[in-house]
Symmetry: C3
Subunit: 302 residues, 3 copies
């Protein structure tokens, strides 16, 4: 497996995805063993966060430190040379000489790709605006594999903001690599799944349908999303749709399904749902660690 960078889930095929999920399982076993691991002893990960994202940053740092490696980085554009007018290319060239691998989060689409053109070490895209966040997609797939037992043949429902939700778009693409997937999109009219995503599914012959209300008959995986205030140019629009697509006990009780959410969530899931065995969103967040460990290991082995 030859993987120099991890920029977009679209750059990797099913074979690479399966390899990463397999490696993730080994990493999960390492974590459960509670042993001090030295795989990355002497190695440095740089976490360059031009946009705050505590959860993603801490997950990457945890992954690297669990592997015995070290981390350098910044969490805020305010304290960087960017403020002195430095280009992203220059920053990446400099950091390439400090670190063995770089995870970058940046508000602009395409910035991680651009970074990979200047880097002499592997680049991991930890989110570039509304574009890609491939490690999230891989941990989503890993959660499905671990908690449903398979990915092929699953019946998944995405609920909420399907228009702006980057994680939904990337996961749809990744699922289209698998066999016999059925997707149900459940959203208000103004947050429907974009046409490009639909085209992508049609091209791969992935079965899907769209609904305007929550209906989970036959569903194996419910993928909830936060309706993000910051995505809305109009606050009235936000106020109207929030809460409309809220998951409650009656939707999921006694159903053989798992509930996922990329987190953070606000009020789109009734807190009583948290205690159901179906609720897997915190497990999903945990799975981010072994998946990122696997990605660090695979990229650094190349």
């Amino acid at each position: 497996m030859k993987l120099n960078h991890l920029i977009s889930i679209k750059d990797i095929g099913k074979k690479e995805v399966l390899k990463i999920l397999e490696e993730s399982e080994k990493m999960e076993n390492l974590l459960h063993s509670k042993k001090a691991v030295k795989i990355m002893d002497g190695k440095i990960l740089a976490t360059l966060f031009y946009e705050p994202s505590t959860r993603t940053r801490l997950s990457f740092e945890t992954a690297m430190k669990r592997l015995g490696g070290a981390v350098i980085g910044f969490t805020d554009i305010k304290n960087t040379s960017v403020m002195k007018g430095e280009t992203l290319g220059d920053t990446i060239r400099v950091i390439s000489d400090y670190a063995d691998i770089i995870a970058i989060r940046h508000p602009y689409e395409g910035s991680a790709r651009l970074a990979s053109e200047y880097a002499t070490v592997p680049i991991i895209n930890a989110g570039d605006g509304s574009n890609q966040h491939p490690t999230q997609t891989l941990l989503d797939l890993y959660t499905i594999k671990r908690e449903v037992g398979k990915i092929d043949g699953i019946n998944i429902a995405f609920i909420g903001d399907l228009k702006y939700g980057r994680t939904v778009h990337s996961l749809c693409h990744a699922l289209s690599l698998f066999n016999n997937i059925k997707i149900t999109f459940i959203s208000p009219e103004e947050l429907r799944i974009p046409k490009e995503i639909i085209s992508d599914l049609e091209k791969n012959n992935t079965e899907f349908c769209e609904k305007g209300h929550i209906d989970l008959k036959g569903i194996d995986v419910v993928y909830m999303t936060r309706i993000q205030k910051e995505r809305f140019p109009d606050l009235n629009e936000y106020q109207r749709v929030r809460g409309t697509y809220k998951l409650t006990l009656k939707h999921v009780e006694n159903k053989n399904l798992i509930i996922m959410h990329p987190l953070p969530r606000v009020d789109e899931i009734d807190p009583r749902v948290d205690n159901l065995p179906q609720a897997k969103y915190f497990k999903q967040s945990f799975y981010g660690v072994p998946v990122r460990m696997a990605i660090l290991k695979i990229l650094l082995e190349n």
Copy 2:
């Protein structure tokens, strides 16, 4: 000793306090040996600072790193998911899956207790508003033990802001667990020790008195406090009392006592006092490291 979390000094009895002080002494010896310690090799401490406190954060990080462990965390609420509306409970559930132990500092009273209800790993309260800061109290006790040679039977004077001073309140409670303690409270009228603290002392039969001026006859330990501007709703009130209770050479020269201060200080101690052998406030700050090492070790062993 069964200690799951360290939320309040009031949760632990004399036996636990003595056990922590004993373990702290072992940790201090480890530090003096200058050897690389591997007790926490492979373990991760999360420092979640929702409110800035460089000294406390660096002391915890030093403790963990001196034990051979790693640290993840944030120093500022601005860059966290909290800004996206996430509850403290959700953050704690997520971080519990990243780290082996969590130190939390939060501006709201009761937040550390709340965190411990969601955590699946030990929580250490690193300060929750004006409420509790138990590791400070333990390092205060350790300083007394190391520098006076005993805790039972000491004669201690608290000077300055005794109304708002969280460290004073907690230390008073902790001292009331010991025998034959005598406490002198020295403060301006408007910053007198609160009635609840007095009641607590009376309940435990701890001897105390109140004074309006500095008088250190027979005192073993002087505990100075900063008169914190941010505690005063009225700046005029602050201006009037600051400097009134300032410790100078004449108060302490040729007296067999030690001077403590939780730091940072502003101008409540004459700088010439720093050079006296009685001045122990920097030593006290240093003792924060072995005490926090002991707490990390004890909590992670359970």
Copy 3:
């Protein structure tokens, strides 16, 4: 070699400089070996950045972590006790008890020297205002040594902001310790090299001349500088001189010289120059790591 602190390049003589450069070469070999190094195992570096400087901070952190050590610190004055009125002396006394060595960056001249008076561990000046930044000077010298093959006898041209450029002033002083150096200062009238620097060179019999245009005949080393907006009280003055002293292909093609720049740069070097073998500014940035490793090692060995 007895070096307690590294505050100013003027504190150390040629012998110490050569010793640091020699140790840097060993450190560079260690880095190239890609082995996990344990020289600083169990040791802690504190990076106290009262002023943001991502590049310098990450370079120090990388150096310490490549040596197997740990790092604590802050990146921003906002989250420090300074905001509560603490003096630098008190902060340094406290941090001296946490860390084995301290790198400090501070906006005020003389602050690193002041810090060294309170510290009980070695202090490294990582920049104090427009005054000193000795590790930059040492990495500049190391770059010359490694890329030209020698320091004695070189012919160096400094271009751009020679008035406010701290790195230029310090490097001039350091070069004056070597033999047969020839310096050409190329700058607009309002950014000419200050009289103090000229006097220093004259005292050491270092040959120099001043020019108002770029002319690189016989030059071995071109040292470019950024014309920093923040140094100019008058924005009009800045607008007038920026871009005037821009290095282009025609200045350096087919010439046997190396091009250095302390970075970050804005537009003072044509991007096409980056691909020339003469362009060494990213290499120079990389050399900051082995040089800082050497400095950490030498100071901690004393």
